[in-house]
């Protein structure tokens, strides 16, 4: 028994406690409150809503682990989506072929990564606070996007893109498959790659990491580049889902992604946090909004409950550490 506990601990880490308990609480509460909650329909709606917020949260996660933040994620996703939209339109709009889609997607990824690289360079070389750098990048990208689209929608895409937004493969929504693939990629990156290792180290102490012979500037630039590329994936999925691109799509997700990371046990100062607990936190958030939907509330109430949930988890964490200190601390 204790070995199982140990294994779960090493697999998920202490970060899992908050989101794990929240998951159980949400499933139990709504399972009792509403008979329809534990149904295929609920999980279907969660499965379709999860990917957009989830992909953006993955984009937010890496910078937070380095002790930073990327406030430009939503508009990076928009600009990347815009890039794909133009390539499609330049190649015949509704009649564009798969080749144009592939080209457009590659360009979108490059554009997303480029936005990250610029932020990464500024942060790494000037040591300006990431909140400020990404905030000004956000204002810039929003302006750029509005300037380019004149505040309107860009639409008219080939029909084969539909399934990427709405289709299912063997009953699993395709956006969800993309998202889960990205979760695995991020998990691998963070737990098994040198870049991931260095990301955590930089988050805890940049100078000590540099003294250990790590090229910290390169790591920061690569982290923000990957964050930007992940935004581009979110932007492509959003394009397929709405069948249009508009600057401001998904804007309200920005602070929710930060909320999801913190709920998933990520340390706000960087250095600690894992992908799987964040994934669970995302599922909890979506289950909450689906459950509230079932009992007749709307998304706005769900937003408020998300906020309460985060505050509640932080308060519980405080209470738990207080108790722990009096029991566990043996030496100082």
């Amino acid at each position: 028994m204790s070995t199982i506990v140990e294994r779960v601990k090493t697999l998920f880490g202490p970060e899992m406690a908050g989101p794990g308990l929240a998951f159980l609480a949400v499933v139990l509460t709504f399972g009792i409150a509403s008979p329809q909650f534990l149904s295929v329909a609920t999980f279907g709606s969660v499965a379709f809503q999860l990917p957009e917020l989830g992909l953006l949260t993955l984009a937010m996660l890496l910078p937070i682990l380095t002790g930073g933040l990327n406030l430009a994620i939503t508009f990076t996703a928009n600009i990347a989506g815009l890039t794909l939209a133009w390539v499609l339109q330049a190649n015949g709009g509704v009649d564009a072929g798969p080749g144009a889609f592939v080209l457009g997607s590659v360009l979108a990824l490059l554009v997303g990564a480029a936005s990250g690289v610029i932020m990464g360079l500024v942060i790494a070389f000037t040591r300006a606070h990431p909140i400020l750098v990404s905030l000004s990048m956000m204002i810039f990208l929003r302006g750029l996007g509005e300037f380019l689209t004149r505040g309107g929608d860009v639409s008219g895409f080939p029909a084969f893109l539909g399934p990427l937004g709405h289709g299912s493969l063997l009953g699993v929504p395709i956006p969800l498959i993309v998202f889960i693939a990205c979760v695995f990629a991020w998990n691998l990156l963070l737990s098994r790659s040198k870049l991931g290792f260095n990301t955590y180290m930089i988050g805890s102490n940049l100078d000590a990491t540099r003294y250990s012979g790590i090229n910290t500037r390169k790591v920061i630039v690569l982290v923000y580049a990957r964050s930007g590329a992940m935004c581009a994936i979110a932007g492509i999925i959003m394009l397929a889902r709405f069948n249009s691109v508009r600057i401001g799509h998904g804007e309200s997700y920005l602070l929710i992604t930060v909320l999801a990371c913190f709920l998933g046990g990520v340390n706000p100062f960087g250095g600690f946090g894992r992908v799987i607990p964040v994934f669970v936190a995302l599922v909890v958030l979506q289950l909450l909004s689906s459950g509230l939907n079932l009992v007749g509330a709307n998304q706005h109430l769900a937003t408020a409950v998300w906020g309460l949930l985060l505050a509640g988890v932080m308060v519980l964490r405080f209470v738990a550490t207080k108790f722990k200190i009096s029991f566990v601390r043996k030496e100082t």
Binding site: T126, S136, L206, H300, L301, T303
Partner: protein
């Protein structure tokens, strides 16, 4: 004067940039360099400056607040409803109600931060969602247009026609803004409480060892921002002559950018009222100038974003070169 330039490098360089931009705009546009336009600018910027000086106090005390703009929206609704209950009210009762609700909302943040040791960005992101979600839920997103007349009528305290036919007007928002700015200045530079706030933001552990009441510091800082958010919210409703639940959504980040542009530091201990006001004005002037130059409104934000990015890059490069130990200190975060 030389020591002023040394200790207020940010303010001096902001002022220089504002003068440079104004000079270029005066030459390239006909209407920029007029008193009428200058007062317009003040009118437009009033609400943001009120928010900014409030946020400044929180930043000086080492915190950050994401929730104040949606809190201001909550205040607008709460005040409108409360005014309905008391049968109309007036400016005094309106400001009292708005200020009290604002302080209450700020105190909730301070309570989470102080009592449960939740980091300010986490606490205020959760209250941001709570305030905004509940506001949208209860109002169902519906705006209020039938506000009391005293609230929607323009109050012009001083007007004067210039020889060139333009009018200079000092309106109520400007007066309120000036009072808020002076009050904040007095608080943070002239009172012992204000100096304790600086000390707490600069070195919390040091402040604690001197017996400074940490809890009081949090409540004063977030309460002051709450007060400013409340007043700013009411003035914004007055200025817009309506209450729209998501009108201020997103304003928090714009104000944050302006305050930091004005020299306040995330992490505490640094920032001045002058720099903060200049930061907001720089952005307004740029926007106003671009407008007069006939630049597409869609391009404003892009240019402003680029300016802030450049300013932050340049100022940080300088600071690191001149004072390497600051960079070391910042690296821990």
């Amino acid at each position: 004067m030389r020591s002023f330039a040394r200790t207020h490098a940010t303010e001096v360089s902001l002022l220089a940039v504002i003068i440079a931009i104004s000079a270029v705009l005066s030459v390239s546009t006909a209407n920029f360099f007029s008193l009428g336009n200058a007062f317009d600018l003040l009118n437009i910027s009033s609400v943001n400056i009120i928010f900014a000086v409030g946020l400044l106090v929180v930043l000086i005390a080492g915190g950050i607040d994401i929730s104040f703009a949606v809190a201001a929206s909550v205040v607008q609704y709460g005040t409108a409803i409360a005014l309905g209950w008391i049968g109309g009210g007036g400016w005094i009762s309106g400001l009292l109600i708005a200020g009290s609700i604002g302080i209450l909302l700020g105190a909730i943040n301070a309570f989470l931060i102080h009592r449960f040791k939740v980091i300010s960005i986490v606490a205020t992101i959760s209250t941001f969602n709570i305030y905004f979600g509940l506001l949208m839920f209860f109002t169902k997103g519906v705006s209020i247009y039938d506000l009391p007349d005293w609230l929607t009528d323009r109050v012009i305290l001083f007007e004067h026609e210039m020889p060139d036919g333009t009018w200079i007007e000092i309106t109520l928002p400007v007066l309120v803004m000036v009072i808020c700015v002076i009050a904040t200045w007095v608080l943070i530079t002239r009172t012992t409480t204000g100096r304790q706030l600086y000390a707490f933001g600069d070195n919390p552990e040091g402040a604690r060892r001197f017996g400074i009441n940490i809890g009081a510091m949090q409540f004063i800082a977030f309460g002051w921002l709450g007060l400013m958010a409340g007043i700013g919210g009411l003035i914004q409703a007055h200025y817009a002559q309506e209450v729209v639940p998501n009108a201020l959504y997103g304003r928090e980040l714009d104000v944050l950018a302006a305050v930091v542009l004005g020299g306040a530091r995330l992490g505490g201990g640094r920032g001045s009222v002058l720099g903060c006001v200049l930061g907001v004005l720089l952005i307004s002037i740029t926007q106003n100038g671009l407008n007069l130059m006939g630049v597409s409104p869609f391009a404003f934000k892009m240019i402003i974003g680029a300016i802030i990015l450049a300013a932050i890059t340049l100022s940080n490069t300088n600071i690191e070169r001149l004072l390497p130990f600051i960079a070391q200190k910042g690296a821990g975060r």
